[in-house]
Amino acid sequence: MSPLISKSSARRHAMVDPDVHLMLRVRDGDAEAFTELMRRYQGRVLLVLEHLVGSRDWAEDLTQEVFLRVYRARKTYTADAKFVTWLFTITNHVASNALRTKARRREVRLRGAANSSGSGRPLERFLQCSSGQIPARQLDKTEMRDIVRLAMETLNERQRMAVLLNKFEGMSYADIAQAMEMTPQAVKSLLSRARLNLRQMLIPYLETGRPPEAPPSVGAEELAS
């Protein structure tokens, strides 16, 4: 919980959230309320997860996992926060666990194959392929989408999550802090680094059609922390 918001005031805010009331009905065994919550939030969870993990099929599996966890947690649910904050706390846990597991598997797979050829950064690869063919011209919609997607992939997992919650869910720093179990000040710094990284990746490309000279690192210090 954000230190700026007391528990009692968070509870007061939560009680005016209609989705909190739906979740309380789910807690009391109302299946219709659960279906309604799924109808309202499944697409939003899927959107965040797809951009977080970069695969539609995987994002669908994780979305199902999120709602299964919501169902399992219904009996212990308390209206301490907005429903969306609680939901994306679960989403964040599910995504973090999945990405950690994937990273461990990849580490095992890559052991012994350290000298593989080519750049590891997708945006660099993309730019190496396309920059020669792109003068300073108008980028088409698909190309733009791919560039933005690849720029997002250069962010680390936490930066990406914060950006997605802020951009697509319109969540405040305090709500993101609660969902990601950080302080609002840490969220402010995280979002700042993420947006500066995105600016550094995208602005030169938009203006000149040329790749940026030195793509920034993907926040190794955050991964290490």
Binding site: F34, T35, M38, R39, Q42, G43, L46, L47, E50, H51, R56, A59, E60, T63, Q64, F67, L68, Y71, R72, K141, M144, R145, V148, R149, M152, V163, N166, K167, S172, Y173, K188, S189, L191, S192, R195, L196, L198, R199, L202, I203, L206
Partner: protein, 165 residues
């Protein structure tokens, strides 16, 4: 003496300003700087432009298939929960039914006992009249009731009964 330098604006503040996360005083300070400093204005525009570019990302739509599949998973989970809790429910069921059965048996026993004392039972009457019935043939041979009463007062019948016993 030089005037004190105003605090330098950071990208973190600019981004918080764009996100509407700054307090009024800080907003006014940034707006004042934006009016006078083209470099800050440019930084802000770049950040804003980059942020808007994220809208180019696909917005996946959850289809009915995913909804159906998720609800099926939840239904399986619900069934599993019921299965896990049913042994407990079964035990409670049998305890409840044993209590009901015990109460019924106790009530029935009480009813029989009360009935025994309150109703005219022909067998009980027969049992009480058994000494008379056993000697009925003897009594019939004697017509005088006063004589029989005299024999009873002398305890002659009781001796017979104790001899027989």
């Amino acid at each position: 003496m030089d005037a004190p330098q105003p605090p330098k604006i950071t990208d973190e503040d600019l981004i918080a300003y764009l996100d509407g996360e700054l307090e009024d005083a800080a907003c006014r300070w940034i707006e004042k700087l934006l009016m006078t400093d083209p470099a800050i204005r440019r930084r802000l525009q770049e950040l804003e432009r980059t942020w808007e570019l994220l809208e180019k990302l696909d917005e996946p739509v959850a289809d009915d298939r995913l909804t159906r599949s998720t609800l099926e998973m939840v239904a399986v989970e619900a069934a599993r929960e019921v299965q896990e809790t049913s042994p407990l429910q079964g035990r409670r069921f049998w305890v409840r039914w044993l209590l009901v059965l015990g109460s019924l048996l106790a009530a029935a026993g009480l009813g029989v006992a009360v009935g025994w004392f309150l109703t005219d039972d022909p067998d009980r009457q027969l049992l009480e009249d058994l000494p008379l019935l056993e000697n009925l043939d003897c009594y019939r041979q004697i017509d005088d009731f006063q004589f029989l009463k005299g024999l009873q007062e002398r305890m002659l019948f009781q001796e017979d009964q104790s001899d027989e016993g």
